[in-house]
Symmetry: C2
Subunit: 323 residues, 2 copies
Amino acid sequence: MSNPMFDVIEADLKELNEGLIGAVTSPVDLVTEIGTHLVTAGGKRIRPALCLLAAHGGPAYSLERLLPLAEALELIHTASLVHDDVIDEADTRRGCITANAKWDNQIAILSGDYIFARAFGLIAEGDYGNYVSKRLAELVCNLSVGEIIQDHTVYQAVKDLDNYYNRIQKKTADFLEICCELGAFVGGMSKEDVQKLAEYGHCIGMAFQITDDLLDIQQTSEKIGKPAGNDIRQGIVTLPVIHALSVSPDAAELEGIVTDSAMTDEMVARALAIVKATDGVEVAMAKVDEYLDRARSVLPDSLAPEIREAFVMVADFIGDRDF
Amino acid sequence: MSNPMFDVIEADLKELNEGLIGAVTSPVDLVTEIGTHLVTAGGKRIRPALCLLAAHGGPAYSLERLLPLAEALELIHTASLVHDDVIDEADTRRGCITANAKWDNQIAILSGDYIFARAFGLIAEGDYGNYVSKRLAELVCNLSVGEIIQDHTVYQAVKDLDNYYNRIQKKTADFLEICCELGAFVGGMSKEDVQKLAEYGHCIGMAFQITDDLLDIQQTSEKIGKPAGNDIRQGIVTLPVIHALSVSPDAAELEGIVTDSAMTDEMVARALAIVKATDGVEVAMAKVDEYLDRARSVLPDSLAPEIREAFVMVADFIGDRDF
């Protein structure tokens, strides 16, 4: 995501970046070096930004009070990406070399553990009460379970849409929901408004992941910086593919391809062509619009105009996203 | 460790085992299956047992109150072993197949993350206050940092004993210290007695790890179930080796071997012979005795006789350990 929608919290995000480096500074130089590499490697701070925006909705905004929580959210995201990169044997992420490539798998696994633990340490220091700790522990559980489900069902062409929605909820939407919810909670918003912002976070998270899945099908490889059809190649079926498996006259051929773990580049291209020949992309785009309409409509009335505007810009941005 | 020393808390440990299975039970069957495999794979429950014993020293022992903490300690240990086994590409542990061998590396990494997060979830549910959460987050940080230091200094023959003691403290002693400390703390012991039990935990932890390192040098491969000289082979120098590097007439030859990542079995055998020809084993054993004497001497006077006796038996057991 680009920056204008977060202009209203620009100064807060600058302090957050400094805080993140402080959070991974250790008496052991190597650990500091690894941690600093990870927290400065191009992260867009979407999660802490949502948390801080939501907190601005409350009557008693204090950056000092919010920072440990916002930092912990970014660290949890960072740690889970570090472990994902080990699993995917990725060499680069956001244009930077990954920890597993720069050091090795064991350093990357242990650094991920270290960063997860630093996040929970910050939460303890922030003294937010058990509810916040409990929700963050649930979040990390769900992130792991979401990945386990995904890894376990690759090349299986599960046609059940509930399975898909459940997976992207655990993988993406729960995280954005918690960022908004806990920001609003710690910012002191009413219980009702906390729930509204949580729903906003859920909706933009679902929309964001469906868009991400769509880009993998629609875009050229050059534009998204990885091969198009990458999900299909990895055996992950997304909304347009699941739709095509129901409606395409070539559904049997498509199913044969997406369940073949030895599929060739030609087969991936053929699968993409079958999906694009259906209305799968349009169906997915309509679902994105539905989630974003809902997100805009649940924003609490109590928000200050500039905060509401920022939240609306985030939703607009996801709808317009083409990279 | 064998059981008699924990007889006094036998009923508690039975409930703990049931609780651990409950703690890893998930709506996703595969996650439950993996979690159950991990928490029933031969763990000796030393960490939760120390926690429960220490809590029995307090005026207000309540198993119900202590269980989430004791379970969390075992889960943190389990998760760190799961990640260690991925790093070491181990197929078995305690006679059971490892998660990476039974499933694969990605499942093992994600399950480790899941179990770490469950531990922090239990701590939040237990409502012990920030001090306990903060100490456990520090523990996981230290475990990771200890491993990172160890991995980063393999085949380097660091002769500095402080480096060795620092490493085994982070790897083992800090964990046993925290088990005793937090058990005593939640059990309601006085601040002074909490500190005494923390020191007891530190001392038996240091003694336990030095003994472990000694066994790798002294025992036959059959007895310890892995090749003798395994640490040397992996480039990890332990107390007797560090001592030999200072005092042996063959120190230069020994250093040449332990810094050679391509060492052969013959070279490992020669390194073991050089170490055994010095008083390195005796020096290490004397250090173990020193730690255990200190451990027995710091036990608080306020302990009930059967609890004190159990703590003394643990120390005796570590001193007599030959497997």
